[in-house]
């Protein structure tokens, strides 16, 4: 394998051939300005701090983690909506870090972003037809009005909306329907990759289910690949082929969906899975819960060594002083460590917690 920093065969991804999107050492730091008249930079929020990812054609890669761990920033840096501080993003064989807006434009057709908030991401003053047609017009993709109409109709039908209603405004639609409009718009340019940033988090579960089903169907019908960002691990398990877990700007574990949920090896992944309540009273009440202490440290000042050590249950309760030394001084790299998949814990041990 050619992957520069990690052993990609380890998570079983080799059979998919070349990745369509390949991210290496991605960093996005936001400067913190000091007070006073001359705003000097006094530090940096290390929102994304060395992320490696590969997305293969036709797959759904889930990206999960708690609030502020850097999921959205990763998505935006991949799309070059916010320039990366460092690292490389290769999309269809082409490096996109450092490209300007003009150079990005042809690439934008192939990689699109779908936002969390269906209320905020649609222009309220445009009828649905114009919202969906806009990217087609901007990119000059239809030769005449007739083709534009039929293409918009097709897109609207694809996402399960009634094409008779495209003269209505976003406000006249429910949350789930608005999210469908956003998806129709993202599909207008026939992209190959969708970066979906919390696409169903704002929706009630009964509505969310329909949008998840739609995304699954579209992926199969149109041969799309998704980077699916979410904090809801149940949704992510349902839709993803592989899952990457983020903590404080880093991927700390990545594996096939089944492997990650049944044999998590990193103490953070274990705690995260264990913390999620199951909608099943008997199973939920029979569970042993790992409760980790404290809150996520500030990404401006991550702990030395392993970033999770301030909350790690293994560090606190299991390891000897000698073993802890390693956690405090050496930043664990993403390696397999005999667990069968990539993880960033010196003492990784695959354990079932569900």
């Amino acid at each position: 394998m050619t992957a520069p920093t990690t052993d990609r065969t380890a998570d079983g991804a080799d059979r998919r051939g070349e990745p369509i999107l390949s991210v290496r050492g991605l960093e996005k730091h936001f400067p913190i300005k000091g007070g006073g008249l001359i705003k000097r930079t006094v530090g940096a929020v290390r929102a994304v701090d060395g992320v490696d990812l590969d997305l293969y054609p036709g797959e759904v890669l889930g990206l999960v983690g708690e609030s502020g761990c850097g999921k959205s920033t990763t998505g935006r840096a991949i799309l070059n909506l916010q320039p990366a501080t460092a690292g490389s993003v290769v999309f269809q064989g082409r490096e996109i870090v450092g490209l300007g807006r003009k150079e990005m434009r042809p690439l934008r057709r192939d990689i699109q972003l779908v936002f969390q908030d269906p209320y905020a991401s649609l222009n309220p003053r445009l009828p649905v037809f114009d919202i969906v047609a806009e990217p087609l017009i901007i990119h000059g993709l239809t030769k005449d009005e007739k083709e534009l109409r039929s293409r918009v109709r097709e897109l609207v039908e694809t996402v399960g909306l009634n094409p008779e209603h495209t003269n209505r405004y976003p406000a006249e639609f429910s949350g789930g329907q608005r999210q469908r409009i956003g998806i129709a718009r993202a599909l207008a340019l026939q992209p190959k990759v969708l970066v979906l940033d919390e696409p169903v988090s704002a929706l009630d579960v009964s509505i969310q289910a329909g949008v998840i089903n739609l995304l699954e169907d579209l992926k199969d019908q149109l041969g799309l690949s998704y980077l699916f960002i979410a904090h809801d691990l149940s949704v992510v398990r349902h839709i993803s082929d592989r899952v990457a877990v983020m903590y404080l700007g880093r991927i700390i574990e990545i594996a096939e969906q089944e492997e990650l949920f049944t044999r998590p090896a990193h103490p953070y992944t274990q705690a995260l899975l264990s913390a999620i309540p199951l909608p099943d009273p008997r199973r939920e009440r029979a569970r042993q819960r790992i409760i980790i202490s404290g809150d996520v440290p500030s990404p401006a000042n991550p702990p030395s060594g392993c970033r999770f050590r301030t909350r790690c249950q293994k560090f606190a309760n299991v390891l000897s002083d000698g073993e802890r030394e390693l956690c405090m001084t050496v930043d664990p790299k993403l390696e397999t460590r005999g667990t069968g998949h990539l993880n960033a814990c010196h003492y990784a041990e695959a354990t079932s917690v569900l």
Partner: protein, 441 residues
């Protein structure tokens, strides 16, 4: 956010909403408190809500937000209230607490230990609340005053209900309470201000205040919704501690069916301002009788299952509470709908011991034994946009909508539509916005 739970109409006025029975100065069981109201039968429900209705006048007419809620809460039990956004969970609880804005028209009955709470004056209401009902909101800052140290806020709560408490005793108790809710170095942290705490820590302080006066009932409205899941697990543990320490009964409002599964004894499912199913937690999860409950469970992806069974969405959206058509309010979305469903709104019918459902076809629902795919289509989509007609709650700026749209070449650094970063302060955990279904505007 537009949920009442977070804006906490009226609740913030008092700084803390927990107002409880007189303090004994210790946190062990307050064994004698059941005698606080003479002649009250200890086996009778602590809290009895009957035919509660709430109307809000709006420009478009009266919004009938709560349409006949009945429930009872017995000593020591946890009643979970679940339902979609806008189904009336928060308004119901605020009505019980007497915390709705003055414009709201509230009818029906709310009895606490047999005593009617509705129609009481503000002053006597706060005295009744003082007998031991306290409330925890989703946003801890609803209950905390940013300008006072947290220790002082706890001490105030204690002193309001026990004037004889010395300031030394109050201080000691505040530290003890903070320790109980798991704040490290409580002795020092009592001197911190709320902004010096993270979201999870603030919610711990709110729980400390809520349990300070040994309430008999704690109403918690989405107490963990704004928190990360690892912090939610901590807070649920603290709530469990609070219940053990005070012996209080709890009404736990949440949209998270996992939280309810682990925490509640009984569950009440709300739809369009009314309970549509009530039962033990096992009845509701394993043998639901109302199609809506069944549909909710079927639309949940499961963390503990790798079989990629297709989810069963519920088509359409809840009805507008402005003009409810006659008949079953779930009818437009119900796969079991028949003509008879449109004749009258089904009342809660007994379907088993302690189990009621508001549906005329519960026998059909029973056959699914909780397996939603037997009743709901797995291929449905919202192909029909008619019947939406909701007023949007558009909270963002024009610019964010413009630049936030995918496909629009964005300005170099800006991309506000993606949310997530605006308004984040320090380590405070910011909630995911959960917009409602629009008819609250």
């Amino acid at each position: 956010m537009s949920t009442l739970g977070t804006s906490g109409t009226g609740a913030s006025a008092s700084g803390a909403t927990a107002v409880g029975a007189s303090s004994t100065g210790t946190l062990s069981q307050a064994g004698s408190r059941t005698t606080s109201l003479g002649g009250f039968d200890a086996n009778a429900p602590l809290l009895q809500v009957s035919d509660l209705n709430v109307h809000f006048p709006t420009e478009d007419g009266a919004v009938h937000a709560v349409r006949g809620v009945d429930y009872t809460l017995r000593s020591g039990e946890v009643l979970g209230i679940v339902g979609e956004s806008g189904s009336g969970k928060s308004v119901t609880s605020l009505a019980v607490m007497g915390l709705l804005p003055g414009s709201a028209r509230v009818t029906g009955s709310v009895r606490y230990r047999g005593q009617e709470l509705l129609g009481q004056s503000d002053r006597s209401m706060s005295r009744v609340r003082g007998k031991g009902v306290s409330m925890i909101f989703q946003d801890p800052m609803t209950s905390l005053d940013p300008v006072y140290r947290v220790g002082y806020q706890i001490e105030e709560t204690l002193r309001i209900h026990d004037k004889s408490l010395s300031s030394k005793a109050a201080q000691a108790r505040a530290v003890e309470l903070l320790e109980l809710v798991g704040i490290p170095n409580a002795g020092e942290r009592v001197r911190s201000y709320p902004h010096e705490f993270s979201g999870g820590m603030r919610q711990r302080v709110v729980i400390a205040i809520a349990m300070a006066n040994q309430p008999e009932v704690i109403i918690a409205d989405e107490p963990t919704t704004a928190l990360d899941v690892t912090v939610q697990a901590q807070i649920l543990e603290v709530l469990q501690t609070a219940l053990q320490e005070t012996g209080a009964a709890m009404v736990l409002i949440t949209h998270d069916l996992g939280v309810v599964a682990g925490f509640a004894d009984r569950v009440l499912v709300m739809y369009a301002g009314r309970p549509v199913e009530v039962g033990s937690v096992e009845d509701i999860y394993y043998e639901p009788r109302m199609p809506y409950t069944l549909g909710l469970l079927g639309s949940l992806p499961r963390l503990d299952s790798s079989t990629k069974e297709r989810l069963t969405p519920i088509l359409g959206a809840p009805p507008s509470l402005l003009n409810m058509p006659p008949g079953c309010p779930f009818a437009p979305r119900c796969p079991l709908h028949i003509a008879a469903c449109d004749e009258a709104e089904p009342p809660l019918l007994q379907v088993g011991a302690g189990h009621q459902a508001a549906c005329i076809r519960t026998a059909e629902v029973a056959k699914a034994h909780g397996h939603a795919a037997d009743v709901f289509s797995v291929t449905g989509a919202d192909a029909d946009l008619i019947g939406v007609g909701q007023v949007a709650d558009l909270t963002t700026t024009e610019e964010s909508r413009e630049t936030g749209a995918p496909g629009t070449p964005p300005g170099d650094q800006t991309e506000p539509g993606a949310g997530g970063t605006t308004g984040r302060t320090g380590s405070v955990v910011s909630p995911e916005p959960r917009p409602t279904n629009g008819d609250r505007a």
